[in-house]
Symmetry: D3
Subunit: 238 residues, 6 copies
């Protein structure tokens, strides 16, 4: 039934390639099938003005797409002179999700910026960015630990994300572009390794969705995220 032939509860192949570029403290290429996002985590010994002198750190994210990551070329945001509402919404979501995994006091007065740049888009770029950004963040924190700049581990646990939706009346996991553009409901779910919710964003594209449909989608998300967290762990141990 799914264009890709996947079962409703089947993820696309998920891959995390660490050390993808050489300058960033954490650099990960994350792939959810044909969706490919470079996640680079940068450590800087400064915090934003609102945190100065408070003994706490900050984690933030920025998001972008290469102009031809998509089927049709999209104008370059740098050339148009501003980031779209969609871009800003996504980077705010990534930042909030990653902060949920970090004890900001434990980080000290430093900022980690996670840049998520989509080089190929096939649906689910924001969820891939969160899951890949988490791995890059862990590597950046590890580089601080290796240089003995942290007293204790500032990471609380894992964070991963996946999209779920109602496609042709059936709840499905990890929508690709073909499904995404035809889905009746589209929901992005961010969870931690204990199955707690960090963020839920669900939108009815066609008709409003019912409580049972919501429950079905959340069950798929729970299972998918458990698998993605396993893949993250494996990559981090590799």
């Amino acid at each position: 039934m799914r264009p890709s032939g996947r079962a409703p509860d089947q993820l696309r192949p998920i891959r995390f390639t660490r050390g993808f570029t050489r300058h960033a403290e954490g650099s990960v290429l994350v792939e959810y099938g044909d969706t490919r996002v470079i996640c680079n985590a940068t450590v800087e010994e400064r915090v934003p003005p609102f945190l100065k002198g408070k003994g706490r750190g900050w984690v933030t994210a920025e998001y972008g797409m290469l102009p031809r990551a998509t089927h049709e070329r999209m104008g370059r945001e740098a050339a148009r002179g501003k980031q779209s509402g969609r871009t800003q919404e996504i980077q705010r979501l990534i930042g909030r999700s990653l902060r949920a995994a970090v004890n900001l006091e434990g980080l000290g007065e430093r900022q980690i910026t996670v840049d998520c740049d989509v080089i190929q888009a096939d649906g689910g770029t924001r969820t891939a960015a969160i899951s890949g950004g988490y791995v890059a963040l862990r590597d950046a924190v590890a580089s601080l630990k290796a240089r003995r700049q942290l007293k204790r581990d500032p990471m609380f646990g894992s964070v991963a994300a996946v999209s779920v939706g109602i496609y042709k009346g059936v709840p499905v996991l990890d929508l690709d572009y073909l499904e995404d553009s035809a889905a009746e409901t589209d929901m992005n779910v961010v969870m931690n390794e204990a199955g707690g919710f960090i963020e839920i964003q669900g939108t009815a594209e066609g008709h409003a969705f019912r409580g049972e449909e919501l429950d079905g989608m959340l069950a798929l998300a729970r299972q998918g995220i458990a698998e993605i967290i396993q893949a993250q762990q494996k990559a981090l141990e590799g």
Copy 2:
């Protein structure tokens, strides 16, 4: 337990004042307690470029706050030269929510813009804007019907929104500013008159939230939105 002395499942006083300003086709002052938002719906005989010649209309929203709607003065977005990510996120949410109530084919090739301007903020401005924007939209559509410019009613049903959250460990309905800034979880829910979900946006501010907490919040939202939809109907009949 709540700073306002309300019961956990108690809304603030909800008021819709129609005809608040005289130029707009629909003009509503919506109040959720001390949160006050002017919602003006404008009908224009044009559609955005991507819809030209397709026989369909469009509904969109814009959101703003007077600089001193808040405790501290916030810089005017027009003076800073751009809308914040928060503003864009909110106006995209309002637009999506209102479109869920409209048959865009039935509207014809015209656009309705719903401007939501917060003149006093005390938490829940985006949910008030959706509920008030719906009433303004209905009045704008009524003005088209009165001028016999529509063949059939393009409205599907009602749309209303409310926030829910976990405050001091307890699910509560319709958070005011004091609760909002201390809540462990904050969720905005948009529903229709049939109890279907149009949008769910939940964020863990402190710890991740569990499935039971989610269920508790959604139950409160369902009840609150039913009351708000009644208030909308009453205002529209008044």
Copy 3:
């Protein structure tokens, strides 16, 4: 002769509603007939860079219109990314006019910003903003006095403004939109309670105006402003 049926020297009903919103140190809804402007005065314990360390304060103003304050919807300045020349011209005029009523040394190193936001426009928005802004400014100064943060009263006197013009060959007072768009000459006059001129801005829209016409308009302005200053005093005592 006037569309509204008013006598040439007759003001529209002028109203000042203090305490219109609850966060600002001074908050006034001013109405010149159907023109309605929210004037919020904010006190901040900082001054602009060019005044730092000079022991003087500053008073400034910002001006905006809700997109549908007018007959046709005007694009939101925050969305277009800049304030129009008209907006900047008006807010500079309001700021200069209000500063004429304040001893900036007496204010200490603090800034008062008066935000004037038009929620309904029917001609004369800038003059209403000046007169209403003055009342808001007085309330903001009163809040400083109440907290014993001023050694002496920094207010010199009153400031009020009104428009005058030549409409169908006759000098008239306080033009509404219909008159404004057809007037041959349009002049905004700002005066103090002693009848001194603070600002005169007169523009020939049709033919150039003669000295006698100027004298006729100034006489109307003098009388109108005296009435407005009375209304301000009454509101401030109320």
Copy 4:
């Protein structure tokens, strides 16, 4: 008494050099003493969108200053990415003033843009720009007449401008920078050759000014503008 040693009713030397640059249809260097402004009038066979198809033309103005036209270098507006409120206010004033001299129907569907660029500033740049812009505009219209593109002369009459003020308690004509920065009142007056007022903009810098002071300043302006109009005529005949 005046820093320059001039009598209160004495203009600075006024010069108009036509044909200052070679590409513009009208190109004039205007000098009011040490204030030097290049005024270039450009004819284009198009009108702004709001005038399309209405059979009328348009006259508009733009204003700029070289960064080091002033005592201290001012940041380049092109580099800062926007024109200041002062710049916009001035160019709107120049445009309105010049339009007062033109029958826009007589111009046909074309636009004349008058660029006024200050290369050296010593007070009175906006009034010099208006007087010089008028000469450039006349030359641009003459070039249209020479090419037989106008049925009749679209010019109504002359326009010139001068500043007046109260300096050390005395009304003075044509303030230079030293006077301008110390004046109690500063007024810009635009008149036509018949002594009619096109624009009056007076601002009390120190105390409010009285009716007699206003009359004294206007008398000086009337005399000064008559002299400037003579100089314009002489330049245009030369």
Copy 5:
């Protein structure tokens, strides 16, 4: 002598990976040693306004860097709201260089945009972008030929680029970052397969360079470009 141990006339390993992403008509990852640039060529059936209706096509380029392509994170241009002067200079250079290889009449009324995005920078990003952009452009043209949309081949010949410089007094080929930041002279050379110059841009960083030094650098460039053109051919045949 060179930090990398290379001989003065030795290129870094040059690699072209075609089909790097799947949406673009031409997609190439180009590597000059550790410098890695994604070059995506997009075909669009439109031309810029100045070419409309002239029967000719257009080739243009855009350039960007991921924020962490460099040793230190650089602010994202989309977030800062404008492209730097350096970015604009580079993308203009790439566009001019690629147009030198194309008969724009032969392309028909269509535009090819070559997006060059640096994912890892180690000196020479603009020269790598030109050489890689050429391969992507060829693939994009091939896709048009395959769809029989071109009457004849619009490509004139090959284009490739390399940097040369004076490092510690010796002319060297293809500078990496360490050399680039210490070079006395830095020159970018763009040539075609016949050894003709398309662009030369040389800058003395330390002392001015002499005619013999220029000759030495140009000789190295000629040899290096011949090798790069061979690598391009091999990649295009592969």
Copy 6:
């Protein structure tokens, strides 16, 4: 053969008028035939952030054109809200070229900004700006010396620039607009008084150029720049 009747190796009349405006520390009108550029050098007792506390100064340049410096009016960059890529490229070139003549340590912690504003364009504006900017820079340095604010002369030598090109198959010197728009190759050359190259920027507009053509152009540039440097010296002594 040349439209102007000049011999291939003949410069246009070159003039430097010092003291052109009165506020700048160095103010020069430079003319290359009909190309006229005002170069104003401003000394400020501050350096850009990246140089703070390093005991070194900075020299930078900005470039602009009056809107009607050209045959057709070009939109004002301040009004469009950004500087074009061409403008940024040119001002970066002028800045680099002038810095090549200055010992920045010798300048102390101060910045000299050279504003180059084209009032009439006829080809070669950037080369005229460099040559004129050098004279203005020398005058600004002289003003510092006169005020005994420099321990030693921070100027290394002279800098001048000229364009060369291939026009109708023949190398020519100092192209005017007619030649520039028809040239097959266009090259800007910046040199010092010892015949060393500071910058070479050559672009093939039509076919690629050969080594012999490059040599021919460079020989012309060398001779032309020697003449311009003589003219600079004469002006500086005058």
